[in-house]
């Protein structure tokens, strides 16, 4: 378990490179966190990433983006949670979990939890699991790319996080 503590008026970019358990605590007013993580699995790998974004102070904000691509028979798990404590007004927090399954045997689990104990917040999460839509591949193939290359470009684009 790795814990990042973000203090008053501090802004921090966190890039997660390894799977595991992470906690991000926003403890001072004006604290800001931009968290991103990109994961790829293949063969029979199983990887799990758990992240907790804990808002302990008012006027804090966080944006968390987890993306993953699972190939072959691999298993990819994302577990994200946002907690906003009591009396933490004017808080913004967003959590996104997106998974692309590239083989019929690839599996994924996405759990985006929210626990909100203050009303003056703007908080949301989104999760999606899918394969590459056939139309996207068709679009690129129509422009002269072969299937493999088309997939490659789409995956590359998918994994780019713009924070």
């Amino acid at each position: 378990m790795i814990t990042y503590t973000i203090k008053k008026n501090q802004s921090k970019k966190i890039e997660l490179t390894k799977p595991g358990q992470y906690t991000v605590e926003l403890v001072g007013e004006g604290a800001e966190a931009l968290v991103s993580g990109v994961f790829q699995t293949k063969d029979k790998e199983t990887i799990a990433t758990e992240i907790l974004i804990h808002h302990k102070s008012p006027h804090t904000s966080a944006k968390t983006t987890l993306k993953g691509v699972a190939r072959d028979q691999s298993y990819l798990r994302f577990k994200g949670k946002i907690i906003i404590d009591e009396h933490c007004g004017d808080t913004r927090s967003f959590l996104t979990e997106r998974v692309l399954l590239l083989s019929p045997q690839a599996k994924a689990e996405a759990v985006p939890d929210l626990e909100i104990k203050t009303s003056d917040v703007s908080c949301s999460h989104a999760a999606s699991v899918s394969n590459i839509p056939e139309e996207h591949i068709f679009y690129l193939q129509a422009r002269g790319l072969d299937r493999r290359k088309a997939e490659e470009i789409i995956v590359e684009g998918f994994l780019t996080v713009s924070n």
Binding site: K107, I116, S119, S128
Partner: protein, 476 residues
């Protein structure tokens, strides 16, 4: 006149929760046909089964379920269930001798209760059939002759077991086994009342069937059991409504609802739950949907102290569809732990879950859901949308979704937002001359509008009225 609206337009006070619950009256239970006394033992189950003249297999099922109930601990997640005192609850209260077909034959107290709720009037106006359950037993039942002619069966579960034992034996516990969870086991052990519905092939029951559940006694457990079988190509809309009197001691309502939707059939199940705030409402509801079938749950939870209810569907046939529309409102001291479960077992299945919740005055709402896509369920789609509205700083909202995906030819989406009534939204409406209270009501009604639209008109009107009623005086 101030040029700008104040940034903080209101401070919700303690007056948020109304003490006057309109269904809070009760009648005494002296005239009851039978009372089991407090607590639950095997002896009571034997006695209950004998009084109901049940076949042997049902008694055996009940006893096995009772064992499961005793062996299982309370769930560690969800609402706080520790205040339930199983030994202080009466498990079986039989108010009348038998089910009658005319309101004139219903005992005076019971009739007055249902009159005040408005059941006979609704029956005349827009329902195909009505059942009224008072404590443990169904006391009144009717079904319009058109549907009787088509072969539709709408009975209390007890009558269903007596008249169609083979059908009941085939499906009873087939969707929700007796050891599914602690409260499903308890229900299986002491079930009484509930509805048995069978819609024959290609019959469309165009008006809703309704059952009305009323708890009258204090410290009582109501355990109705419902089984709905919609045969191939048929359709039905079933509605249940619930209220209870105002008592200090807690009561328990633990129902099991099993629905079988066959090929190309459609079933909509609507719940308007408005229990008094001392009831623990722990319900298991599940539908098994075959090829091209469709199941729709519309679930409105306003009352009760703790509700734990996750209507679910098993999409077992190719092209089956499921939909859950869930609305929860939690006020002071209430915890609405609701959600839905979508299990996709077959290809080309699709499901939608839309959950909206409102928390106020320190209430807590939770969305808890699970989407499971099996390796077989290629080309399946699922969308989950949960929106929560927090009306003050004391309240709480949680979202606990799980998506498990074991196939890649799928589209799974989940979205959730939590917000308050925006000052800019209030400002917009108030500049157009509306009072703050009316603006708030309008925003809340707008928030749940797409769900309310799915209700039959009479209920939609009632729902909007109830929301207005709950929002009254929510400005300090």
């Amino acid at each position: 006149m101030a040029r700008f609206a104040a940034k903080k337009t209101s401070k919700p006070g303690d007056s948020l929760i109304r003490d006057d619950y309109e269904h809070g009256y009760s009648f005494d239970t002296d005239s009851y046909e039978f009372k089991s006394g407090k607590g639950l033992t095997e002896k009571i189950i034997h006695q209950l089964s004998r009084m109901k003249n049940e076949p042997k297999w049902m008694l055996e099922t009940r006893l096995r379920a009772f064992g499961e109930f005793q062996a299982r601990p309370n769930p560690m997640w969800g609402g706080d269930l520790s205040p339930i005192k199983f030994d202080d609850i009466s498990y079986y209260l039989k108010p009348t001798e038998k089910v009658v077909k005319s309101w004139a034959d219903v005992p005076k107290d019971v009739k007055e209760t249902f009159d005040r709720i408005g059941v006979p009037k609704a029956e005349r106006k827009f329902l195909a059939g009505v059942k009224a359950q008072y404590d443990s037993e169904v006391v009144y039942g009717s079904l319009k002759s058109t549907w009787v002619k088509d072969g539709v069966i709408f009975l209390s579960m007890d009558e269903g077991l007596a008249k169609y034992p083979d059908l009941v034996k085939e499906y009873f516990g087939s969707v929700i086994p007796l050891n599914d969870n602690k409260y499903a086991a308890l229900n299986t052990a002491v079930w009484s009342g509930g509805s048995f519905v069978y819609v024959p092939k290609n019959v469309h029951v165009k008006m809703p069937l309704q059952t009305y559940f009323r708890i009258n006694a204090e410290a009582f457990g109501q355990f109705e059991r419902t089984l709905i079988i919609v045969d191939e190509g048929a359709s039905v809309h079933y509605i249940e409504g619930c209220t209870a009197p105002q008592f200090n001691s807690t009561s328990l309502h633990s129902a099991v609802v099993e629905i079988i939707v066959k090929k190309g059939a459609r079933c909509q199940y609507t719940t308007v739950q408005n229990w008094y705030k001392n009831i623990y409402n722990l319900v298991t509801k599940r539908a098994h949907v075959s090829e091209e079938g469709q199941m729709v749950w519309t679930d409105f939870n306003m009352g009760s102290k703790v509700t734990m209810k996750y209507p679910s569907f098993i999409l077992a046939g190719k092209g089956a569809k499921g939909e859950t529309l869930s609305m929860a409102l939690a006020g002071e001291g209430q915890h609405q732990d609701t959600g839905s479960k979508a299990t996709h077992l077959a290809p080309y299945t699709s499901s939608t879950i839309i959950a909206k919740s409102i928390s106020k005055g320190g209430g807590r709402t939770s969305y808890r859901g699970k989407v499971f896509i099996s390796p077989n369920a290629h080309h399946s789609k699922n969308t989950v949308v949960c929106d929560a509205l927090l009306l003050d700083d004391k309240s709480r909202s949680d979202t606990y979704p799980v998506d498990q995906v074991y196939n890649n030819q799928v589209e799974i989406q989940h979205e959730a937002t939590v917000s308050k009534i925006g000052d800019d939204q209030l400002f917009y409406l108030m500049t157009r001359g509306m009072s703050e209270e009316n603006s708030r009501k309008m925003i809340v009604n707008g928030f749940i509008a797409d769900l309310v639209k799915k209700l039959p008109l009479e209920y939609a009107v009632e729902m909007n009225r109830l929301i207005d009623f709950e929002m009254e005086g929510s400005i300090g």
